[in-house]
């Protein structure tokens, strides 16, 4: 029995002594750190995608704990839900932000945009772009090496092997903006999802004059102005030889698309038009995956 007692006593002493020393040391050497950083980091998605504008989730969390307003702070991956939770932790007002999706503003598939010279270098959009205007006559269009695909952490873009253009998978896209950043040609735009995920936009960004664009690409915007006239809501402006539809003003009335002679206006997720003018069959569109 005494052996058992000795064991208990020795171990208890070790335990208690260790505990006491620790307690003492912990008290004596206390360091303050905002515990909310950990809490906030916990609720952030942890994708470290940089969509918020900070290098990673931890840095974003640190920034959040220091700010007094959530205006201008947004985690695209977590969306409004996460921001609401963050707001709760920090005791701040949540700021709602409309959900966005990436769209590809170039429709110049190899079918419509002839290749005029052969790029003989590393398959990389940024590098081809830095070298020259590219292997077609369009100096604005997609180069097709998929820098955007590589940049997407969420597997939300893939290259269509037929058109050699990138396609955004709506279900997966978190609007983090990594692709927008990656594209050397600024082809990708984040646009509000829109009602029932319906969106209308000009799938071309060529600022070349109409004639040059027309020669370079059959589906490029030639800045003819038809759409501008067709729009009743002032949503369309033409500047620098290119038409742009302002998502803030666009009411999704679909007046513009049929009048475009080059079919550069794309409509996503709309029902099929009842009567499609025979010469206005759209190029393949809604990515379904």
């Amino acid at each position: 029995m005494s052996a058992i007692l000795i064991a208990i006593v020795v171990l208890a002493i070790v335990g208690v002594v260790a505990g006491l020393i620790l307690y003492y040391v912990a008290e004596k050497f206390k360091v303050e750190e905002d515990p909310r950083i950990d809490e906030v980091e916990e609720v952030l998605p942890g994708a470290n995608c940089g969509g918020c504008g900070y290098p990673g989730c931890r840095q974003f969390a640190e920034a959040l704990t220091k700010t007094d307003t959530l205006e201008g702070y947004f985690c695209p991956v977590g969306g409004n839900d996460v921001m609401a939770t963050v707001a709760e932790i920090l005791g701040l007002e949540a700021v709602e932000q409309e959900k966005q999706l990436a769209v590809i503003r170039c429709a110049g598939s190899s079918e419509f945009r002839p290749v005029t010279n052969e790029y003989d270098g590393p398959s990389n959009c940024a590098m081809e772009h830095a070298l020259y205007s590219g292997h077609t006559e369009c100096q604005y269009g997609c180069l097709g090496h998929g820098d955007c695909v590589a940049a997407c952490e969420f597997d939300a873009i893939y290259m269509d092997p037929v058109t050699n253009l990138p396609v955004v998978v709506e279900e997966k896209c978190t609007a983090c903006g990594a692709c927008v950043e990656a594209c050397p040609r600024d082809i990708i735009e984040l646009r509000p999802v829109g009602k029932k995920s319906r969106r209308i936009y000009v799938a071309c960004i060529s600022e070349d004059k109409g004639g040059i664009t027309a020669k370079a690409c059959k589906v490029g915007c030639i800045a003819c102005g038809n759409c501008e006239k067709a729009c009743d809501f002032d949503a369309i402006t033409i500047e620098n030889n290119i038409s742009y539809i302002d998502p803030g003003k666009c009411r999704l009335c679909r007046a513009c698309a049929p009048v475009c002679p080059t079919e550069s206006i794309w409509e996503l997720n709309f029902p099929v038009r009842r009567s499609i003018p025979s010469n206005k069959v759209k190029p393949k569109k809604k990515p379904t995956t």
Partner: protein
Amino acid sequence: MENKLLVSYSPHIHAQSASVQRIMLDVILALMPAVLFSFYLFGIGAIIVTVVAVASAVLWEWLIAKYLLKRKPQIWDLSAALTGLLLAMNVPSNLPIWMVLIGTLVAIGVGKMSFGGLGQNIFNPALVGRVFLLISFPVAMTSWPVPLKSRMSYLDAVTGATPLGIVKDGVRNGEKISDLMHQIPSHMQMFYGVMGGSLGEMAALLLILGGIYLIIRKVISWHIPVSIIGTVFLFGGLLWLINPEKYPDPLFQILTGGVMLGAIFMATDYVTSPMTPKGKLIFGVSIGLLIVIIREWGAYPEGVSFAILIMNAFVPLIDKYTKPRVFGTMKTKKQN
């Protein structure tokens, strides 16, 4: 598609002579005299082992690239063949075929393809294969056929010890080197290459000739071979001066075992050696020191393979700290 102009970054011309295949071919050619001589010494066994090793190394590379990695096999760059050849030169000529196959499988599969194939590996593939075999099959890997004795037999060749083995065992047993001398061939014999050992341990002379060819063709630089051989000679010599009865003389050190083959053909493998001359010297000197340390104080009679493999592991560190000086930066300024 007709006559579209090419556009690319500069330069628009490329050195004609520079190609991976040509480099590998040069190394194989440089090895040939020694290979043929070993055929002469060891006969049929040497031929079987060499052919099997080369063929299987290439085959493994092809199979793994095609079916496991699903990449385009690159066997025509000849690096797999070279690995096979070097492995063959590192094993006894009476090694059973199935062991040779395991050796090349480990060399190519573990040592090279697991890392992603040509250029990606950290360790010298042939040596990975060799050390794997040595540790797995210590008996088979250390019974050396006696040269010229049984040229017409393969598995049942007459075996004997290598000079290093004789010395190591003798010294371990407390014998004096001078008493052991009669058991081992003379320096001249070693230089011409008649002694027990693996295929590639023979013929220092022919290996040196191969090395000179490689240096002239600018395939390798002198730094690694010279620093290894020099260090083994100097460090071995130092020990010998301290106690000639315990430590063999420096000529013996550099003429026996794999020093020549290792220094000229294996430590120089680009992929697994440092980039800059300074790095190469550090690499070579360290290998030299390790060779002597392992030989004299370690368990193994021979340390070249281990020394090279160990230093292979240091290459990323060496490369990191021996960068060339960037033009326009101060000499004293440290880069990291």
